[in-house]
């Protein structure tokens, strides 16, 4: 069962899997809740109605069966509700990680098994392979480094990895384009969407306001010593490291350094105050190792767009880990994930609880 969006990546994945001799069944997940605007439904993101039309066309061209499957309930619960709850808790969620974990590689994988299908394939830029020596499935970065999506896939477990295929991860961008051309796909295609698929105009503050019963109350901006600097619009509108859109000028660049839900405050600081030396991460998953017994040197990535940083991961007694950076990191944000790499191998990752 191959997840198809009608875009180049998943379409090429279909072509590669067919060439490798797999029997491929294309599916597009139907995930849109009723609250999502019609415009977004028809045009936005990987699972929109236009995606359905495009994917169907590709499936017809490749001569494979194609279905639209309903994942609306699980998407609402595991992605949209989580997204809202995290913001309301003053954290900054990553809905793509949640979607991969609970929808694509849990619900869709289960659906595939129930239908007697052996694998779930996707057009993700990542590589999965079995290491004979370690006796483990490993997740590696894609050959095309700029496209790598392993950051959003660190939650996969061994059972899942044994049943997932990500064929384009081992092809270069040029090769993917070449295959796309060969099967007659418009290579220009749709732009890669980095925005949140279910939020119109990327205005997530408005989305949460309109879809929650909680009152989103304005509160105080304070500095790190607790002095009141002004009023904020409600904590859901802010994320750690944010500089733009604070609505006040301070005479020097000021950044969000902390969101204090208890007191409904947004703490601002200057450039030096937005850096942290270490963090605590929870909800940990390891891929290349079974568990972390002793401190390990890794490269750690704290956001999808962040550069990897040298660090040491230290196991804690409660199952959490402490990550100590060699050099302070900017905007360590609760709710985002930290992912650990050893070269191109994903060691594991977790959700940032707090910076230290």
């Amino acid at each position: 069962m191959l997840g198809m969006s009608g875009g180049v990546d998943s379409s090429v994945a279909a072509a590669i899997l067919l060439e490798q001799g797999f029997e491929v069944i294309g599916v597009t997940m139907q995930i849109w809740p009723d609250i999502v605007e019609d415009k977004q439904k028809s045009e936005g993101g990987c699972c929109s109605l236009s995606a359905v039309d495009d994917a169907r066309r590709v499936a017809d061209k490749l001569g494979i069966p194609y279905y639209v499957l309903n994942f609306k309930d699980v998407f609402r619960e595991k992605v949209i509700d989580y997204f809202k709850d995290e913001y309301l808790k003053g954290r900054t969620p990553n809905p793509c990680i949640a979607c991969n974990r609970h929808v694509k590689f849990d619900a869709m994988l289960k659906k595939a098994s129930s239908m007697g299908l052996d694998y779930v394939g996707t057009g993700h830029y990542a590589q999965i392979g079995y290491d004979e020596k370690l006796k483990r499935y490993l997740l590696r970065k894609s050959v095309t480094a700029t496209k790598d999506q392993t950051y959003a896939l660190y939650n996969l477990n061994q059972e899942q990895l044994s049943r997932i295929l990500m064929p384009i991860g081992s092809y270069t961008k040029d090769k993917v384009r070449e295959i796309a051309g060969k099967i007659g796909l418009c290579v220009a295609g749709k732009p890669d969407s980095q925005e949140i698929c279910f939020v119109e105009d990327n205005d997530y503050g408005r989305f949460i306001r309109e879809n929650t019963d909680y009152e989103i109350a304005p509160g105080d901006f304070v500095d790190t010593r607790g002095n009141i600097l002004g009023r904020h619009k409600g904590i859901v509108h802010y994320t750690v490291g944010q500089r733009k859109g604070l609505g006040i000028s301070f005479g020097k660049p000021m950044y969000v350094v902390e969101i204090d839900v208890q007191r409904n405050r947004v703490v601002l600081g200057d450039d030096s105050e937005v850096f942290s030396n270490a963090l605590i991460a929870e909800d940990i998953n390891f891929i290349s190792i079974d568990s972390l017994k002793e401190p390990q040197r890794v490269k750690a990535k704290i956001r999808y767009s962040a550069k990897e940083a040298d660090a040491e991961v230290i196991p804690l007694e409660d199952g959490c880990v402490q990550v100590v950076f060699d050099a302070p990191q900017r905007a360590v944000t609760p709710g985002q994930s930290v992912v650990f790499y050893d070269g191109d191998i994903v060691v594991g990752g977790g959700v940032i609880k707090n910076p230290i």
Binding site: Q30, P65, V68, L69, N70, K110, K111, G116
Partner: protein, 394 residues
């Protein structure tokens, strides 16, 4: 993938019969004349058109001049409902329908609500039936139209149309019936049944797609649907789809010509399938009335299963069927019909509709009964809910 292909979705559409296609073909090429033209080939088209009209009229007990061709059943429904509503607005603004109508009726009624009309959606009982008493009780001085489907497209339940027609006639309210699933499947007589307007669609009885008809009893006040030329006596402008209409005429003639023989066979297949499913598969529920249902309709809910997975797996085995919650590109909601007969959401999601047709055989049912229990079992094995129930039972 399997080579075998068994089509069990005749309520969705049917193949065009060979005789029907042959009757149509000349009207695409040598007999291409516009039916409104005065010269010979134009007149030939006009003649074919009127012969088809006679056949449709004969099939439902109407007069030829009461038959108006449309481009679909949906168009006929929209025309009947909006046309009567707009034309009788000075008399009243109230319309009576049921909760289980096809969307062509429901959405047209909802549109009229936005235009200031009031619509009563009668509930149905657990078998999907509405009663003539319910209809009578809902009639008010402002009621201008009653629109109730002849037979339901999902669960196959056949409504007491003659009784409802009697009530409507006594109260002097126009009565429209969406008979898209019924025409060509069960006997209909518009005058015995006191029907004022009736919609039908050619592709449901082995005719071509893209052609339907609306029966409008002589004297019914109704606005024109499309304004333009004088076709269909000025009530539905558009150059006539002559080939399609010829196909409709031929198809309805054949379908209504051997109803009894055909139905005996379809009912036998339906009964066998219902009995075997109930015998071989636990935790199932037959939806719709046990006997008062379309000859070829079987509709079951399978507990602990999503209809979606079931359809896909049947498709992989070469069986074409449909569910109560078809997910093509837009809608994902469980069927309003299944909810209206009282099924909870999760059970409505696990529904399967099988609709038999003339070309189906007993071997098709053998194959279905070989495959279906296996698939249901397999899907249930994945369900944690089923696991709990199965454990309690052993």
């Amino acid at each position: 993938m399997t080579e075998r292909m068994i089509y069990l979705d005749h309520a969705a559409t049917t193949p065009v019969k060979k005789e029907v296609l042959e009757a149509m073909l000349p009207y695409f090429t040598e007999k291409f004349g516009n039916a409104s033209s005065i010269y010979t080939i134009g007149r030939e088209s006009k003649k074919a058109l009127e012969e088809a009209r006679d056949k449709v009229a004969a099939a439902i007990g109407a007069q030829s001049k009461e038959i108006f061709f449309t481009a679909s059943g949906t168009e006929a429904d929209n025309w009947a409902i909006k046309g009567v509503a707009y034309s009788n607005r000075t008399k009243g603004n109230h319309i009576i329908t049921t909760a289980i109508e096809h969307h062509a009726v429901l959405h047209a009624c909802q549109y009229l609500e936005s235009e200031g009309f009031e619509v009563t959606y009668l509930p149905v009982d657990k078998n999907g039936l509405v009663s003539a008493e319910q209809v009578a009780a809902a009639i008010k001085p402002e009621t201008i139209l009653i629109t109730i489907m002849f037979a339901n497209n999902e669960i196959g339940t056949i409504q007491p149309i003659a009784e409802i027609g009697k009530v409507a006639r006594e109260k002097g309210v126009y009565f429209h019936t969406d008979a898209v699933q019924a025409v060509g499947n069960i006997p209909i007589d518009v005058s015995d049944m006191n029907i004022d307007l009736l919609s039908l669609s050619s592709h449901k009885f082995y005719g071509p797609k893209g052609v339907g008809a609306l029966y409008i009893r002589k004297g019914v006040k109704i606005t024109s649907f499309l304004h333009g030329g004088a076709q269909e006596r000025g009530r539905r402008a558009s150059t006539e789809n002559v080939a399609g209409i010829v196909g409709l005429g031929k198809a309805i003639e054949i379908a209504c010509g051997n109803l009894e023989d055909k139905n005996r066979k379809l009912i036998a297949m339906r009964e066998r399938t219902i009995e075997e499913i109930m015998k071989k598969i636990p935790f199932v529920k037959l939806n719709g009335h046990r006997t008062q249902r379309l000859p070829g309709n079987v509709n079951f809910s399978f507990e602990f299963i999503e209809g979606e997975s079931l359809l896909l797996m049947l498709d992989m085995k070469g069986i074409a069927a449909s569910s109560g919650s078809a997910c093509t590109s837009g809608s994902l909601d469980p069927s309003h019909v299944l909810l209206a007969i009282g099924l909870p959401h999760e059970i409505a999601h696990g529904s399967l509709r099988l609709t038999f047709g003339e070309e189906n055989t007993d071997e098709d049912i053998d194959y279905l009964m070989e495959v279906l229990p296996m698939i249901v079992q397999r899907l249930r094995e994945m369900s944690p809910l089923y696991e709990a129930v199965a454990k309690n039972n052993t």
